[in-house]
Symmetry: C2
Subunit: 314 residues, 2 copies
């Protein structure tokens, strides 16, 4: 298989790399995402691809975008966290890039990478949950990405877990990602600071004394140090993670759940309560095989590695 | 295609028929289900199959059971509403039946029938929701039944829609089927009778003056007459139906939802509020195609027709 370029467009950064047939990233470029400017985001994609393509002989470019990609693999229908609405991304990029180009949902790309090179190799049914600002989702069944009728399946983060619950960026209420994501960690920490600043002392220190500095990474860092308040916030989120996974097991019956994304760096601080809540709320527990819940193996590169591999196989 | 026998084992009755290649039932047998006696249920299956096989030349037998069938297509792992726990149903039946035998989840069979002969012919991604005592579910993707890693996918009725909500027969709390099923209609009517017997006058009449007589069919019959209390109960259930469908759209992105089962006889009394709530709670609404929500076409025969067709193609 030839080299391919993968580009992962997240809510905060554009990460691109040249990927070989073993899933290794042999060169890379990184830029911040201008989230609310579509044209500028597209210009940055073209720029990083041209830089990498000048340095390597590549056969294809895969762009993984944090949006809902129609099943034409060309149009971004909607993005809860970016400005794309019915955006013809393939058309906007392909002439300038001048290489075979595939546009893919970023979480689909990550799931594909974990199946091909990561924690889920050889598994028959893989549910991949990417915990970042929100939740991304992917499903690989018998070696094929599941895309649904219109290309927008696996938006797990927008299952309603709490009827009429917290307002979500998608316009709904009570979405899973409002309770299990980097944003959920940050919000819970901010609430703690408001209600009980004494309990949140260490969190506030790490946030440079400002509630606005209380991000997901701050919470997971404090929890990793052993701060009890931060650990409790991670446990709460881990339980919500487990509840959502139990819902997905009822629908999809996977053999494995792979948990990736930046927030998954918290590791067992999240996964232990997630597994406990999963078996506590799994329908038919005791009478069915229990799917494994494991950390993603590829880290922050999974999106770009998967996008590159999907593109060169297209 | 040759004739095949389909047997549908529901919570209350065993319905069997001889099915031709056009999906027509050309002969049939019906028995009550002895729900809590496994051996007796199996004896009844053998009995109806032998009676039908004596009258027709059949090539295969498909048994659709209201249980979770392992991916060996032989073992019933669990049944929320029947006594089966890790029951080797195929082994128990096959010697006595002496024909090619396939054991299938009843709602999978119904979904297959709607794809082959019913309301979802030609659709790429079909979610079938069977509203009976509980909720059964099926998914047909590009002409294949989706079964998950262990054969027990599509247990939609056991998604948690209400955290720590009503206790369900599966052992969990807050399952969708506690809010959208025949049981949910009956319970809501019983609560109305307790709290406001005046409002429930017509419902009580139809239930022969006893709250125990308040079943799903009584509620839908009263609603069909125009009884406002019964209509309100159907509307409430229809909204829960729509909420669950919106969750399924987030995960599965189907082109069509087919709503079958006894409770679906209520038709638009349920489907109208279901569609309204679906578009009200669908993530990304306005930026995606909206799946159709239609009534099943095959009525109570869908399970046996699907089981027969699956068996003859196996």
């Amino acid at each position: 298989m030839p080299l391919a370029i993968g580009v992962d467009i997240g809510g905060t950064k554009v990460s691109a790399g040249v990927v070989d047939d073993d899933g290794r990233v042999i060169d890379r470029e990184l830029r911040p995402t201008p989230g609310h400017d579509v044209a500028e985001t597209e210009a940055i994609i073209v720029e990083v691809v041209k830089e990498l393509a000048a340095r390597h002989e590549v056969a294809a470019v895969g762009v993984g975008a944090a949006g809902w990609i129609a099943n034409d693999h060309a149009t971004v229908l909607f993005s809860p966290h970016l400005a794309w609405r019915d955006e013809p991304l393939h058309a906007a990029l392909s002439e300038q890039i001048g290489l075979k180009l595939v546009v893919e949902n970023d979480a689909n790309a990550a799931a594909w990478a974990e199946y091909r090179y990561g924690a889920a190799q050889g598994q028959p049914v893989i549910v991949c949950v990417t915990l970042g600002t929100g939740i991304g989702g992917g499903l690989v069944v018998d070696g094929n990405l599941y895309r649904g009728a219109y290309g927008i399946a696996c938006e797990y983060g927008h299952m309603t877990l709490v009827p009429d619950g917290r307002r979500c960026a998608c316009g709904n209420r009570g979405c899973w990602e409002m309770y299990a994501s980097g944003r959920a960690l940050a919000r819970d920490a901010q609430e703690l600071v408001e209600e009980s600043p004494m309990a949140a002392e260490r969190l506030l220190e790490l946030a440079a004394a400002s509630p606005d500095g209380l991000s997901g990474p701050v919470v997971t860092a404090a929890a990793a140090e052993g701060d009890p308040a931060a650990e409790a916030i991670c446990t709460t989120m881990g339980r919500w993670l487990g509840r959502g996974l139990a819902n997905l097991a009822a629908v999809l019956d996977p053999s494995i759940f792979v948990i990736g994304g930046g927030v998954s760096q918290a590791g067992e601080l999240l996964l232990r309560p997630a597994r406990e809540e999963f078996v506590h709320t799994l329908t038919g527990r005791g009478f069915r095989p229990v799917a494994d819940i494991v950390s993603a193996a590829l880290g922050p590169d999974s999106g770009l590695v998967g996008a590159a591999d999907i593109a060169r196989r297209a």
